[in-house]
Amino acid sequence: MSLNLKKGVNRQSAYNLRDPNIDYEAAHTLSIIVDNESGVLARVIGLFSGRGYNIDSLTVAEIDHSGHRSRITIVTSGTPKVINQIKAQLNRMVPVHEVIDLTLKGKAVQRELAIFKVNGTGNQRVEALRLADVFRAKVVDSTLKSFTFELTGNSEKIDAFAELMEPLGLLEMARTGIVALLRGHNSS
């Protein structure tokens, strides 16, 4: 018996290729409190890569030395269903203590730090310095033909500054990725 498929037709795949998650995608900032033990970041990242979730930004550092706790801040994007899945998957990991969805919890302060190296002479150099002042970027290093600026702010501000520096001789930049906390007097 055959299902009357034309020879060579393989649209009738062994697996269901239809993506059932075609739904509205949104970015979420997740704050994850974990044990600061070896391999913990690999576990979290492995979950994201293994299950095909996005990571738009990731930062991690110890926040409580005596309690051996770190905070991982991940910006991810997905449909509401996928975001819920990510949180449930994170929550069942042994070294994960808390998963806070800052995007759902209310307003959060989100900051990035970036360092820009801008090469230029003459008017270009003056203009770079003037714009840095407008953005409240700090000069942290300089030579006769370059400035190195440090800038903190939300990601849009960093993006905007990078765009302005581009024609003014932006050589390279480094940025930390987002750290975030909930606004107000309560802990996240």
């Binding site: 299902l3 393989n10 009738q12 929550n91």
Partner: protein
């Protein structure tokens, strides 16, 4: 955490911790990096060690042991290849929620990272296939970590864990920490039950006109209490009940409300009831793609309640209306209590109508097949096996393929923990070692592995283990000389191009049995089948039963991947009316 002052070696700590955890059996294979532990094993009498012939088999044997007893299965492997050989079993246990603890040897801490002999990044490799794993660098942490490992393996949704112990940590001395001194607070899945949701569920139960209960392995994992409560709920409501492959036996196959297994090769009545129901109570199952078929056409008109201990299983594949997160036994108990408190009743008139509809689907007789008097049909072989062993103190394991589905369709399971099969991962080579693990746990019981010849070859080296430990397992091989399930898909979905789905160069199974000093039986005549099965059952030791069956039989009914429940295809026998019922076996 206080520890006793007396110091013992890491290897002693391992054995002591296992004994304190109540471990009586370990499946394993030694090697350089775990020799100190094996040395301790040699000097004690409380733990029995079963030497397998391949580490993959140790993990599957531990799974069989765990699933048939409800206890935790334990495995010892050495570093490098020993550890990598355990990966398939770990993944299998993760998919099917089987609690096992693998203890692996590792190269000494000071050599880690140097590409030492038999070094592998075991915790790296097994990270995605365990619930959690640990590399221990301090002998003083060893006991505590092993106790934690056992806690994680069995808490919440059960699963595999691995503890990697470098050889110097096994040699060094350290303090033992007792189990009761180890806090389990570090891993406490949060389960909160909202009474409003319980009431809402019961209200829906009362109002349902076309209800169905769909159960899975979670009921069995939860334990005897959950099984009894499930049966109680069914008898109180008179709702129809179906189960996944993993959940067979939680409701008895002989029970009045049983519709048979659902899913890709489930019965017509089970799948149609799932499709047409207006209320679905999912108990300890996870809406796997083999169950749902096409997801956007899955049970379109039902109100869905999902009971599961794992929050990540809820709303993963199918969005449900009411999630009830927690242990199946606790939730069923609450549900029934709420039901009784409200004095709930179902409408027997509406339910009667629904049962009538289901009766019509049952009349399709979707498991019907054409029998033959000249060749053994695989379904017939399973039916005869069932006939000869029903009522025995019996455990069945399977390999993966058509034979597995036929076993699920044609064997009746009256009790939980009696059916061992690789569901989530679909691991060929699972059944033989699993049957060994079951037999070790239940030495007096009848243990049969229903196998396909191709799968069976994947762990056939375990004949040595069966013989060494006098494990009288029966290997009932449905030999179609084909990778039958692959062949079936090629026939139905790939234009009958049978690419590499032949089992060529098969051994003579009778001679193979003879080579190991056990019994081999071959049967190819349906008339002689009964006697041959009886001979297998009468033989006190291990048997390889080479049952030569029809080579081109397809397993029906079938929901092709990506199709909906109501698009299932039935066997030729059920499809066409012009074939007479003569020779057709009704089930």
């Amino acid at each position: 955490m206080k520890s006793s002052k007396e110091k013992i070696t890491g290897a002693e700590i391992v054995i002591k911790a296992l004994i304190e955890q109540g471990v009586d059996t370990v499946f394993g294979y030694p090697g350089g990096a775990i020799l100190p532990v094996y040395d301790e094993l040699f000097q004690q009498k409380k733990i029995r060690h079963i030497l397998v012939r391949h580490e993959q088999a140790a993990t599957h044997a531990a799974e069989g042991y765990a699933r048939s007893t409800g206890k935790i299965g334990v495995v010892f492997v050495t570093s490098g290849p020993g550890a990598t050989n355990s990966v398939t079993g770990l993944t299998d246990a993760l998919m099917d929620s089987v609690p096992i603890v693998v203890i692996s040897g590792q190269v000494p801490t000071f050599m880690i990272g140097n590409d030492a002999f038999q070094e592998a990044d075991t915790v790296g490799i097994t990270r995605p296939c365990t619930k959690h794993n640990w590399l221990i660098k301090d002998t003083n942490k060893l006991a505590e970590t092993i106790h934690r490992a056992f806690h994680v393996a069995k808490t919440g949704r059960p699963g595999p864990v691995l503890v990697d112990i470098p050889k110097d940590v096994q040699f060094a001395s350290g303090c033992y920490t007792k189990k009761k001194k180890v806090s389990t607070d570090f891993f406490k899945p949060e389960l909160s039950l909202d009474p409003n949701l319980l009431t809402e569920t019961v209200q829906r139960l009362e109002k349902a006109s076309k209800p169905i209960i769909y159960t899975g392995g979670g009921v069995i994992n939860s334990g005897e209490k959950a099984v009894n409560l499930l049966r109680k709920l069914v008898s109180k409501t008179n709702f129809p009940i179906t189960s996944t492959l993993m959940g067979l036996g939680s409701y008895p196959a002989s029970g009045d409300n049983w519709l048979g297994m659902l899913g890709m090769h489930g019965t017509y009545e089970a799948n149609m009831s799932m499709h047409d129901c207006d209320f679905m109570l999912c108990v300890g199952a996870r809406f796997d793609d083999r169950i749902t078929g096409r997801i956007d056409a899955f049970s379109p008109n039902s109100f869905k309640v999902h009971i599961d201990i794992d929050p990540s299983s809820v709303n993963k594949n199918v969005t449900v209306d009411v999630p009830l997160i927690g242990d199946v036994a606790i939730i069923l108990e609450e549900l029934i209590a709420t039901w009784e408190k409200r004095g709930s009743k179902v409408s027997s008139q509406k339910l009667g109508q629904w049962w009538k509809e289901i009766g019509e689907w049952k009349n399709v007789k979707s498991l019907k097949y054409t029998n033959s008097s000249s060749v053994i049909k695989p379904q017939y072989a399973i039916q005869r096996l069932e006939e000869h062993t029903r009522g025995h103190d019996r455990y069945i394991s399977t390999e993966v393929g058509q034979h597995q589905m036929w076993a699920a369709q044609f064997m009746g399971f009256e009790e939980p923990n009696r059916w061992m099969t690789s569901g989530g991962l679909g691991t060929m080579g699972y059944g033989f070692p699993a049957s060994l693990g079951v037999q070790v746990a239940h030495p007096k019981s009848l243990v049969i592995n229903v196998a396909g010849e191709a799968s069976w070859l994947m762990n056939m080296q375990e004949l040595g283990t069966a013989v060494q430990y006098r494990l009288p397992v029966k290997q009932f091989i449905l030999n179609n000389e084909r990778l039958g399930m692959v062949r079936q898909w090629q026939e139905l979905l790939h234009g009958e191009r049978y690419s590499h789905s032949w089992s060529d160069a098969l051994p003579d199974f009778e001679k193979l049995a003879e080579a190991y000093g056990i019994k081999g039986i071959r049967c190819e005549d349906p008339v002689k089948l009964d006697d041959a099965i009886q001979a297998m059952l009468d033989y006190p030791g291990p048997v390889i039963f080479d049952c030569l069956v029809e080579k081109h039989e397809n397993c029906f009914p079938m929901i092709p991947s990506g199709k909906a429940h109501n698009e299932m295809i039935l066997g030729e026998q059920t499809q066409s009316d012009n074939i007479s019922d003569e020779g057709a076996v009704l089930v």
